[in-house]
C-alpha cells in the first residue's frame, strides 16, 4: 500500500466526515420518564380520613337523544328486542342530574403513593354497548374486558399517554386483561365493528375517584386531611368537558362539592 496515497485518502475522508457532521441536524430525543420501582403504599391514618360527596346536576336544555343504528349486526338488534337504543352520552337523569360523570382527586394527594388493588375492574359488553359507560382504574390495576354478546367485538382503547392496543374478542373467548401504566383522563374505548360503542376509562394514581350513577351523586371516601382539587369530567352531548373545585378536608370531615354542567355546544 502506498503510504502517501493512504494519507491523502484519510485526509479526504475526514474532510467529508467533518462536512457531514457539520450539516447534521441536532436532534434531541425526549426520553419519557418511567418509574419502574415497586410501589410502597404510604401509610394513612384510617382514624382521621374524611370524605367528599356531591351531586352533579345538568343545567339547560337536555340534548336530543341520538338513536343508535345497529342494523348491520342483527345480533345487536336482537339483543335489544328491536327497541330503539340511544347514545349514553346524551343521558340525563330524570331528576336533572348527570350520570356517567367521572369525579376524581386531581391534585393534593401527590404525597401519598398507593398500591393498585388486585381486583380487576370489569368492563362488560352487553347488547353491543359497554357496561359501564364510564369507569375508573388505578395505574397498573387490571382492566378485565368480558363479553356477554354472541357477536365478535374488538376492544380498542385510544390513549394518548399509554400504549394503544386493539384486540378482537370472539364470543366465548377468554376475558382480555390489560393494565395502563400511566395516569390518563380519559381514555376512549371503541369497538370498530360496532362504531357506536364507546366507553371512557379514567386512569388515576390514587384510589379517590367515583362515577355518578342514576341519582347523579358521587362519593369519594378515605381521604386523609388536606386540600384537594376535585375534578369532574363528563362527555354529555358527546363533547368531553371538565370542572375543578378545591376543597379542604379536616380530620374525619365530610365535605360536599356540587358540580353543574351544560351541554357543550
Amino acid at each position: 500500500m502506498n503510504k502517501r496515497h493512504l494519507l491523502a485518502l484519510a485526509f479526504v475522508v475526514s474532510l467529508a466526515l467533518f462536512l457531514i457532521a457539520c450539516s447534521k441536524k441536532e436532534e434531541t430525543t425526549e426520553q419519557p420518564a418511567e418509574t419502574t420501582t415497586a410501589v410502597q403504599p404510604t401509610p394513612i391514618d384510617q382514624s382521621t380520613v374524611g370524605e367528599v360527596t356531591g351531586k352533579v346536576s345538568f343545567d339547560g336544555t337536555k340534548p336530543k337523544p341520538h338513536q343508535i343504528m345497529m342494523d348491520q349486526d342483527p345480533a345487536c338488534v336482537k339483543a335489544h328486542g328491536g327497541k330503539p337504543v340511544y347514545a349514553e352520552d346524551d343521558e340525563v337523569n330524570g331528576n336533572g342530574t348527570l350520570p356517567n360523570v367521572f369525579v376524581y382527586v386531581k391534585s393534593g394527594a401527590e404525597n401519598y403513593t398507593f398500591a393498585a388493588p388486585s381486583d380487576p375492574v370489569v368492563l362488560d359488553q352487553k347488547g353491543c354497548m359497554y357496561d359501564p359507560h364510564v369507569l375508573g382504574v388505578m395505574v397498573d390495576q387490571t382492566l378485565k374486558v368480558v363479553s356477554s354478546d354472541p357477536t365478535t367485538h374488538n376492544i380498542h382503547p385510544m390513549p394518548k399517554d399509554n400504549r394503544e392496543w386493539n384486540m378482537s374478542q370472539p364470543p366465548g373467548a377468554a376475558p382480555i386483561e390489560q393494565k395502563f401504566a400511566r395516569p390518563e383522563i380519559m381514555i376512549p374505548v371503541k369497538c370498530n365493528q360496532h362504531p357506536w360503542m364507546r366507553a371512557y376509562v379514567g386512569v388515576v394514581k390514587n384510589p379517590f375517584f367515583s362515577v355518578t350513577g342514576s341519582d347523579g351523586t358521587f362519593s369519594i371516601k378515605g381521604l386523609p386531611p388536606g386540600t384537594y382539587t376535585v375534578e369532574a369530567w363528563t362527555a354529555v352531548g358527546g363533547t368531553p368537558q371538565t370542572q375543578d373545585q378545591t376543597v379542604t378536608i379536616g380530620p374525619k370531615e365530610s365535605k360536599t362539592v356540587d358540580f353543574s354542567f351544560k351541554a357543550a355546544s
Partner: protein, 225 residues
C-alpha cells in the same frame, strides 16, 4: 492457469466448423477468448466484458428504481391539490457544476491511464474523489438550507420527493465514491497491469451514469408541472 486452455473435443473433430456455430457469444462477437479478468474462485477467469454487462444490468435496475420514483412523482403531482413547489436551494446548481467537473476529471484520469501516465491518473482520480465528496457535502448543505427554511421531508409532497430523490441519488453516489476509493488504493496496480483498466472503465461508467441521473433529477425537480 492450465484450466483456461480450451480442451479440444476428445472424439472426432466436427466435420463442419459451423456445426459448432462459432463461440456462444452471439451478442459480443469476441466472448470466450476476450479479455481476461482475475480468476473466479472456481478457477477460470471471468471475461472482463461480463463485468461490463453486470454493470449495465445494475444500472438498468437503478434506472428502474428511479423510473418508479419518477412515475410516482408525476402521478402524485398530477392528482394532488396539495402540491406546493419547493424552491430549490441555489447551491444545487453549484453542486451540479461540481459533479459535472468530477465527470470531466474522471475522464482526464482515464485518458491519463490510457496514455500510461500513472501519476496523472492517480491525481485526477483524487480530484474526482474530492469533487464527489464536495458534491455530497454540498447536497447536505442544501438540505440544511431547506431545513433552516422549515422545509422538512413531510412538509409537502414536493419536498418529500426532493429529499427522497436527492438522498437516493446521494446513496448511490456514495457507492461510487466507495469505488473511487478502491481505485485510489489500487492505483499502482492498475497502472502496472493493463488488464486492470476495465475496472476503471466500469467505475467511470457508473460515475457518469450518476452524473447524468443527477441532471435528470434536477430537471425533474425544477420543471413545473
Amino acid at each position: 492457469m492450465a484450466s483456461t486452455v480450451l480442451t479440444p473435443p476428445k472424439h472426432r473433430a466436427p466435420s463442419k466448423s459451423d456445426s459448432i456455430g462459432g463461440n456462444g457469444h452471439g451478442w459480443d462477437g469476441d466472448g470466450f477468448g476476450g479479455g481476461r479478468g482475475e480468476p473466479s474462485p472456481a478457477g477460470r477467469p471471468i471475461p472482463l466484458h461480463a463485468y461490463r454487462m453486470g454493470m449495465y444490468m445494475a444500472l438498468a435496475a437503478i434506472l428502474m428504481v428511479f423510473a418508479a420514483f419518477t412515475s410516482a412523482l408525476v402521478v402524485r403531482r398530477g392528482i394532488s391539490n396539495d402540491w406546493v413547489p419547493t424552491a430549490l436551494p441555489g447551491l444545487l446548481y453549484l453542486n451540479t457544476v461540481i459533479l459535472l467537473a468530477s465527470s470531466a476529471t474522471l475522464e482526464l484520469s482515464r485518458r491519463a491511464l490510457t496514455a500510461g501516465r500513472g501519476e496523472a491518473f492517480a491525481q485526477w482520480l483524487y480530484a474526482t474523489l474530492v469533487l464527489g465528496l464536495a458534491f455530497i457535502g454540498g447536497q447536505l448543505l442544501a438540505w440544511r438550507e431547506l431545513v433552516a427554511r422549515g422545509v422538512y421531508l413531510s412538509t409537502n409532497p414536493s419536498s418529500s420527493f426532493f429529499y427522497l430523490l436527492t438522498s437516493a441519488h446521494g446513496i448511490h453516489l456514495l457507492g461510487g465514491i466507495g469505488g473511487l476509493i478502491y481505485l485510489v488504493l489500487r492505483a499502482r496496480r492498475i497502472v502496472s497491469a493493463a488488464k486492470q483498466r476495465t475496472i476503471v472503465e466500469i467505475a467511470a461508467l457508473y460515475w457518469h451514469f450518476m452524473d447524468g441521473l443527477w441532471i435528470y433529477l434536477l430537471l425533474l425537480l425544477t420543471v413545473r408541472s
